[in-house]
Symmetry: D3
Subunit: 250 residues, 6 copies
Amino acid sequence: MKALILEELTWVELNKYINDVKVALVPTGSYEQHGPNTTFATDTVRAYEIAKMLGEKYGSDALICPPVGYGISPHHMKFPGTITLRPDTYISILMDIAWSLKQHGINKILYLTGHGGNRFALGTAITKIKMEYNIDAYWSGVGSGVVKDLLDEKNCSKIRGHACEAETSQSWYLAPWLVKEEALEKGKIKKESKYKDKGIVKDGGVYWDFYEVSENGALGDSTKASIELGKEITDLVIERLCEMIDKIIL
Amino acid sequence: MKALILEELTWVELNKYINDVKVALVPTGSYEQHGPNTTFATDTVRAYEIAKMLGEKYGSDALICPPVGYGISPHHMKFPGTITLRPDTYISILMDIAWSLKQHGINKILYLTGHGGNRFALGTAITKIKMEYNIDAYWSGVGSGVVKDLLDEKNCSKIRGHACEAETSQSWYLAPWLVKEEALEKGKIKKESKYKDKGIVKDGGVYWDFYEVSENGALGDSTKASIELGKEITDLVIERLCEMIDKIIL
Amino acid sequence: MKALILEELTWVELNKYINDVKVALVPTGSYEQHGPNTTFATDTVRAYEIAKMLGEKYGSDALICPPVGYGISPHHMKFPGTITLRPDTYISILMDIAWSLKQHGINKILYLTGHGGNRFALGTAITKIKMEYNIDAYWSGVGSGVVKDLLDEKNCSKIRGHACEAETSQSWYLAPWLVKEEALEKGKIKKESKYKDKGIVKDGGVYWDFYEVSENGALGDSTKASIELGKEITDLVIERLCEMIDKIIL
Amino acid sequence: MKALILEELTWVELNKYINDVKVALVPTGSYEQHGPNTTFATDTVRAYEIAKMLGEKYGSDALICPPVGYGISPHHMKFPGTITLRPDTYISILMDIAWSLKQHGINKILYLTGHGGNRFALGTAITKIKMEYNIDAYWSGVGSGVVKDLLDEKNCSKIRGHACEAETSQSWYLAPWLVKEEALEKGKIKKESKYKDKGIVKDGGVYWDFYEVSENGALGDSTKASIELGKEITDLVIERLCEMIDKIIL
Amino acid sequence: MKALILEELTWVELNKYINDVKVALVPTGSYEQHGPNTTFATDTVRAYEIAKMLGEKYGSDALICPPVGYGISPHHMKFPGTITLRPDTYISILMDIAWSLKQHGINKILYLTGHGGNRFALGTAITKIKMEYNIDAYWSGVGSGVVKDLLDEKNCSKIRGHACEAETSQSWYLAPWLVKEEALEKGKIKKESKYKDKGIVKDGGVYWDFYEVSENGALGDSTKASIELGKEITDLVIERLCEMIDKIIL
Amino acid sequence: MKALILEELTWVELNKYINDVKVALVPTGSYEQHGPNTTFATDTVRAYEIAKMLGEKYGSDALICPPVGYGISPHHMKFPGTITLRPDTYISILMDIAWSLKQHGINKILYLTGHGGNRFALGTAITKIKMEYNIDAYWSGVGSGVVKDLLDEKNCSKIRGHACEAETSQSWYLAPWLVKEEALEKGKIKKESKYKDKGIVKDGGVYWDFYEVSENGALGDSTKASIELGKEITDLVIERLCEMIDKIIL
């Protein structure tokens, strides 16, 4: 099926399908450092690519919106080039998009985040969207968090997630230009890192500065990344997101 | 050791210990319905009791602050009596407490929530607290989320958390007046409930209205609650929170 | 009559009376220093106790809400342990409670403050509550400001209000654990205090730092406090608040 | 002495005196109905005239700022022409003026309000100004509230304040064009008015809609107004404000 | 025709015409330095005078509101006496006035600014007013920007606008007390001024500090100012604003 | 020279050049309808392409940031698919990017907008950025507004700007996929359009709903568009922006 990608349509084209749309998919990520491995665009581009793939599966059932590129990355600010929004700004963007979509008759929205640092703000946003606009909003990751079981099975690094072999693999598969193949480097975790603190949280959260965790800004071991692993991760992510979307648009 | 409980002290008394304080514990909860089983104060009182118990373990290392009672409960508004804050309001309270504590030389704060609905706002708050005040803030649950393994082992209900046997047991142990022993009732889960949607989220979130999930406002089966289970849960929660606090104040 | 105290009820219990409720009483105070005389909880606990007493008089006519404990205390920040909200935060809490109560059909709210420092914010809040939610909101003190005539008659200290004999007496009567009987001390007013400025305001206000007024954080002379005086004050406060509530719920 | 009136000066002129300035006087009022008696500008013009008179007494010690004309008048909105700010807007204006004055080395500000409806917002503003900018801010009324004893002595109407004989007299004395001499009319108080509610508040506040109190928008009896009474009121107001300012700039 | 000037009316008087009103004119300006030439009130008074002149042409078709005096002048803060609002504050005032007018049935508003520094905030405000209140709002300058062709023809200074001969002339004609005839001085433009930067913007904007442009705070050459030029400018401004208003109220 | 495009770099790569950066270029646009002619991405993509071209000219002097894609488009909401931010949200994004860049030592920012509807918010943003962060911010258009003289000379349509031949030509030249060659259509201007109102504003602004102006959402006549015209426009835009940037980074 042909995906309904807002960036590629005119309003006249969209107009033919607008009443079919059951859910809008809004990709979101960050422009933050990803070690020497992948570029600042990693999270946003991965999320958008996943959204487009879903768009091909759902055709006019799903409107694929342009990505909300800038995200919440204060914990990466010590690495030059990282740009962060304040949580309130980020939440407002998500709300405004929801409000706008509702004007066009779309009342269900799934935000797809390529960046874990957005999760608390996403959770706060969907509460506000429901309270203020009465729109059903959902959010999901698009990477390692969705397929923990697979990554465990593949013996991926324990401390993983950011610029690790899983994320680098997925980037490679989805958008090879994001990956600096010749520069791939294992995460240089600091021994005395506060990151251990996060490890002890059973049900809660800790604010931690990434530079205190990893000297090169990466976790895991991206030298083990491969396009094949990227495909495997992505296939399973798509499968699981489809299950979710099927229920949402029921 | 004697707990340093702000509500019970004068400033003259506190003044002797204020320079010893390594972390402030701020309990928080909600005033939302808990089925026919426990009262509107359930979450807040449980969190405060846990905080006081921790206070006894840490003495002048930990300042036990009064609870932030009102929480984020829009999903319970269909049940009469529930009172909710907007997320922004709730986050501002947590920020102001952090700012105030910093004026007195306290730079580490652990928020202890008896209410899962606060978690996204807590996560957003600790980000803002770090960005705006440069204070290290942490948060943790105090109930079933902290001891999932124990509850699985005990064969507690699968769909659990709110007004279930675990929470009711913990309430019974910590503050018996919260529990309406004669009225305990199993959660009346609606068959066609949207709750299944939550089940399919691997790594993300869904806003859901509690009344669409449970007719009587409860999950699990509180008729299976007991003071003994409450003690067991609480002992393990305390043990795990102590591990966390030990690392925080290191 | 049995008071309708939200903290002590389940929604099932409240549900029987919710349509009878004519007004909600929302106690509020502060967690600020009260000299060597009474604890940080003084204002909040006094207000809540008064609210419960009123609850016994009004039964299902009045819903007694949990207290808004944290208040506006920037002028006490020089005394360790004091925690203050920003005015905007405090006002938002009052608004959210009003909004929530309206969802349950309650359109009249009386805020009862045990802390004078909240008064301007209370006045601002009721204006916003009316403008934005069209709810009739009222506020009142619960202590010396309500019974000035009695205190004059009793020859109470001229510079009084905070941690003075009147407040200490009322605390003693309402919640003896608030009072440090062995530590009661007269207010150590600074001779060159800016407080005189407040004295010259006929119709207006002055921001003043409490530490510049009183070295030990107290006004008046709490060594003259007694349970008897506390009862007398409280009886008259209750009488006058009943007159007010009678008119509100007419 | 020559008053330092910002509106009438160039920066080159002001520059000669700016370092002498000990306090800024900022008049404020409202553009709200005043019955058939006086115009929408009544409160603002009265406050400005009083400020200028004070300016003549203090010369380069006091900078007379232009008035903050629009005020808080939601309770007069049922009368056509009334314009109100939201409390947050009004408070922000007062804060911005304070911040600006501080840039020029002025750290003491006295707001002079011709409108009682601004009082809670003024009180909230001076707290915020102190907390955020560390500026000493004060506020005072300029009319009947400052000289209650005189008005009692003169047997002025009991229910007075807005568009009553005292205010009309003061307007007449200060700015005759505000007064519609041929249209002066006694306040048409509604018998079943909610205003009685306000009467029962010993220490607190009530939001009330002016139209429910007075059919023609006036209180008291402006047919008894006179320039002589206006002068007497104003002389005493000036005397008392001078006492206040003397202490502020000490 | 008699102008409908809010400041000069009682509600009883306005009431006769309120249903005729087709548009409200809201003058706005600033209290910022204008070199040695004219006073801090220059922008606000000019705008108000123009509004009143328009009021005489439109009678009960146009309600002339009191001016929003304080404006956006951070770029003049280096000159003592200048007072600025934050843009958000200023925008909120414009919004509140619009909201209030709508309560009285007025749905078209023309803001008339005597100060160019308000323009971006005015543009932002009319967008918000439309989005949030669905009111048709417009704004226009009242001075040199409206009559560029005339000023070119008259060979006015190239770098003009603020405290130049055109503005000084208009002030002289409209409100002679604004002009310090004996002190008129040519603008002392700094040679290395950043102002040139503004010159290169074809379609955009630059923030610039006025003190870096002109040593005495003036542009152009006010020694060439005259009442005659002021009249000529004003006549053409009025003519063009009438054309605009005619279309607005059509 | 090689452009410094954030999206394409890792932090390790950027790190070599970060201290050379003299200005950050931040493209911004909208996701709003552009008639049957070009897609929702038109404004954002054009701005980003222009920014990249400038990046090639300035090398490590200029950091090319990812685009702020969503913009201010309430006036296009009647056309399905348009998504708008509220002005405050948009301004906050621009501010957060500026704040982040400053953390990395970059103190000059040029926002490049492909969408005229952002201009007032851009102007407001650069004022706030200067006031709050003391960063020198500038903004410029990238299209027809920058080269009015050329378009006049080419006899382009008088009512132009949005989805006209100039914009369509520029899109064609910069990113052909934006243009629906087979669907190009002249703007269907409504005869009785309010747009004439905009025509009469000499120095000011009008909020207008695009649907009331043009039935198909376009202005001008895109059937006259050509790649050649697009190149000519773009060459001149680049030339003029280079002049501007040269002065900014001097």
